[in-house]
Subunit: 190 residues, 2 copies
Amino acid sequence: VSEDRPYHHGDLRREVLRAALEVIDESGTAGLSLRDLARRAGVSHAAPAHHFGDKAGLLTAIAAEGFDLLADALVDTRHKGGDFYDVGATYVQFAVHHPAHFEVMFRPDLYHSTDAALAAASDRAARELHEGMATLAAAADFDPERGAIAAWAFVHGFATLWLTGVLPSWLGNDPRAATQDVARTLFGNP
Amino acid sequence: VSEDRPYHHGDLRREVLRAALEVIDESGTAGLSLRDLARRAGVSHAAPAHHFGDKAGLLTAIAAEGFDLLADALVDTRHKGGDFYDVGATYVQFAVHHPAHFEVMFRPDLYHSTDAALAAASDRAARELHEGMATLAAAADFDPERGAIAAWAFVHGFATLWLTGVLPSWLGNDPRAATQDVARTLFGNP
DNA sequence: TGTACATCAGTGAACGCGCGTTCACTGATGTAC
DNA sequence: TGTACATCAGTGAACGCGCGTTCACTGATGTAC
């Protein structure tokens, strides 16, 4: 407890989010507690609830931020003229670079699914993803709906297995390259 | 607390496992506690630890059982002459029919990964899966290693998304049929 | 058929802990006049 | 330039809770003789 700590933190909301992502990276959502985050931020234990309402509110904010980051990344890839393989690699790269966001995003039981900001972000990400995945279907003359689902399942599974650490080491350390390597082998090279 | 309850439960180990799977199905691994399981089994709160050592020991038993069940199912499918699509459908079906096992199996941070029985079961499942997945690669003239990884990523991702409940409803209720439907669209029909 | 004894399963009290949430409060900030 | 006041951020004490683990114990079972 330093004496010179100011009464107002400055950006406690951001700091709590940052600390929460750090904790989730280290020990998963199970190890997350508001009191611990308060401690890490050097603030009284009741302060975090001030910004997020409750614990689920904090996780809602993380999920919403995650969907926004994913949507941004997908938009960026497509604006750069990326094909399906680039979009898929972006999905996997997002999961690997933001494992805490990724974990929370796909555990809707943990957060307030009805939150408006969350729903908007989630919808945008779903739209971008679907369009990106459908480009594969178009290129390879698949049924677009089934093709998009299949491609999503592949990149989602690849990302999940990568994060779990069960993929063989010959895939290397670069998730983008590994994704494209495996995907091209599987889908051929349309 | 019924008066006629016998001192010895009979098969408390099995009963605790059963209750644990039930709880995980309902509220995930986060909601799991040894005391709650003891309550459900109508037994004193310290009894479960007698059989599993500690909480991680219980989850180790669940993971081991899961890998064994998966390996059995894969063996069965291949003995019946199933092709890659059947094997993939079996993987997804296993995840959907045993969601609690599936969840625990791929969260190695929750259990004692060094346990001998677990390692044996896990190895057997990995071997069976790899062979099943590699049949696709053989049939479609892919690189076998990459093909196996890609096929695994697809079925794992499909299973995960199915369990999360984010797949569109037009896929229907039958995970086997849906898996094969989507997979055939994607891979062509070798 | 009976008895001694080892073994194992389950008990219940106790420990110390960290948690989420509530609530009346105080300190700081900024805006209206 | 100064002052009153509303607003917001953060405090700290308190609540009640459920948890995992330990430990000396007791009840039941089965085996050796």
